[in-house]
Amino acid sequence: MGSEIKKTPIALVLLAWLFVSVPWGWGITQLWKNARKLFQAPPAATMPVTPSK
């Protein structure tokens, strides 16, 4: 009866992964835009730091 086994098409598996990875990838891109701010030169670095009272 082995010939009756219907294997899941690879395309269906890929489609399922696409369904979750597209919004996920979008989220990661949005987050990375924020995270990049850490590596941008801080304007405060060139300014004198006033001691807090």
């Binding site: 399922a16 949005q30 990375w32 995270a35 850490l38 730091v49």
Partner: protein, 476 residues
């Protein structure tokens, strides 16, 4: 119940030829949706301004800075309870419904999770419309929280059964989704609120309605895709190792029996300590980096730092749980606690008064956050090793109460120590050091608990009616 019979466990048994690689995306669709909970804070500021924007006659173009002493509407502290209630109900519902889930199957549990999670948004939208905060507590907090708990544990035991060769990797993938959910939830909510915003309305109510609908549909993908393997199914070419690891059992322990084993409570402490320590960094990441490197890190760069930590928290879930398949769960937690304690101790020394290295501080924090995420993701496979696969979802559900406790105690502990140090006139940078040293102590407690974990005594093993009969025959 005919219309819902497609949710029954026996209707979701996979036919021969079904690809197990369809199950992780099904699990991810649930976890990516419910992971939105971590992004709930994006609603706090708009909810704080509901009344002012409505009364402004369109004059309020930008939201002014928050003044918690003079709230414009609902107070930040009151709004904070929405998330806290949701996390408490996550733990409670996972503990209470875990056994039902094992009986009903993942499809029914995922469906119930989707209904609760979406309803939470809808009830909250009514709460905003009627301006009743208790409806937000009930909606997003209680009903949504139950959805979180059901959704969090629903795919775990199914994934473990589909991937007996890589249980850590499989559950890590799903739990990584929970970490990634906020990455989608936050920009989605911000974009929707921007789209629905008018001169008199910040668009929160409509955003709740649309997000409830979107998440319900996304979770339905998981409901219809998930399958449970047939009894005795094994992946092609898979054979259980001839010499299994010391802690990996081929037997099963029923959830109530597991609850009375020392191993359960040791793992409860392991998870609780790991999460509390991680919260120690997460809770104060932004002010801490600004204080340790005064004048060199802007508020915007600090926000970038927090975002970067989220990425490492998410990535650590997959990486560490996958590594645990090779080095074993116990060794993985040894790494979390030993390496973690060293890094927590070193972190304050990288500040301006010590090594003065921003990259070193960021690197240390990033590794710590991978271990925080890894702790969540590796625990289901640890439970499976000790208690077998039979009721691992239910056992995991009960263990999540450790998360609820850590979620409440962690921030309280961190804030209390910081405020206490401040009140004694200790400089802020040094107050952060004290917090991190306390976290080192918690990690040592976790390390001891992990070291005490031994295989479960066979008196706790589940004996089926069949095996009882065999034992009786053997005795005669």
């Amino acid at each position: 119940m005919g219309a819902f019979s497609f949710l029954d466990r026996n209707r979701s048994i996979a036919q021969p030829g079904f690809s197990r690689w369809l199950v992780p995306p099904a699990a991810l669709s649930i976890h990516l949706a419910i992971g939105q909970a971590y992004a709930f804070s994006v609603f706090k500021k708009p909810l704080n301004y509901l009344l002012q924007i409505a009364a402004s006659g369109g004059g309020l173009k930008a939201l002014p800075a928050v003044d918690s002493a003079n709230p414009l509407d609902w107070k930040f502290t009151d709004l904070g309870w929405i998330f806290s209630i949701a996390i408490v109900f996550l733990g409670l519902s996972a503990a209470v419904f875990g056994k039902w889930l094992e009986r009903a199957g993942p499809r029914k549990a995922m469906f119930a999770s989707a209904v609760c999670f979406a309803s939470g948004f809808f009830v909250s939208a009514i709460g905003v419309h009627l301006h009743q905060l208790w409806l937000l507590y009930l909606g997003y907090g209680v009903i949504g929280g139950i959805g979180l708990g059901l959704g969090y544990i629903s795919p775990v035991s199914t994934l473990i059964k589909w991937f007996p060769d890589r249980p850590g990797m499989a559950t890590g993938m799903a739990i990584m989704g929970f970490g990634g959910g906020a990455l989608i939830g936050a920009p989605l909510a911000n974009n929707l609120m921007a789209a629905f915003r008018t001169d008199h309305d910040l668009g929160v109510e409509k955003t709740f309605l649309v997000m409830g609908a979107i998440y319900f549909l996304a979770m339905m993908f998981g409901v219809f895709t998930v399958r449970v393997p047939q009894e005795g199914w094994k992946p092609e070419g898979f054979a259980a190792p001839a010499k299994p690891r010391a802690l990996v059992t081929a037997n099963n322990v029923e959830v109530n029996a597991a609850f009375s084993t020392p191993q359960f409570w040791l793992l409860w402490i392991v998870l609780c300590m790991n999460v509390t320590a991680g919260i120690g960094i997460l809770e104060q990441a932004s002010p801490m980096i600004q204080e340790l490197f005064k004048g060199r890190i802007t508020a915007s760069a600090a926000a970038g730092f927090v975002a970067l930590l989220s990425l490492f928290n998410m990535g650590g879930r997959f990486v560490w749980s996958s590594i645990s398949d090779y080095i074993g769960r116990k060794n993985t937690y040894y790494a979390f606690f030993i390496l973690g304690a060293i890094l927590y101790y070193l972190a304050p020394r990288t500040g301006a008064s010590g090594l003065n290295s921003i990259p070193l501080f960021v690197g240390i924090s990033a590794i710590i956050l991978t271990m925080y995420g890894g702790g969540f993701a590796t625990i289901p496979a640890y439970l499976r090793d000790l208690f077998g696969t039979m009721e691992v979802g239910a056992i995991h559900g009960r263990l999540l109460t450790a998360w609820s406790v850590a979620g409440v105690c962690g921030p309280v502990l961190v804030n209390y120590i910081r405020e206490y140090e401040k009140s004694k006139g200790v400089p802020l940078a040094d107050a952060y050091s004290t917090v991190l040293y306390v976290m080192v102590g918690l990690l040592i407690v976790g390390l001891i608990a992990n070291a005490l974990v031994r295989p479960v005594n066979q008196k706790y093993w589940y004996k089926s009616a069949e095996s009882d009969k065999n034992l009786a025959t053997a005795a005669v």
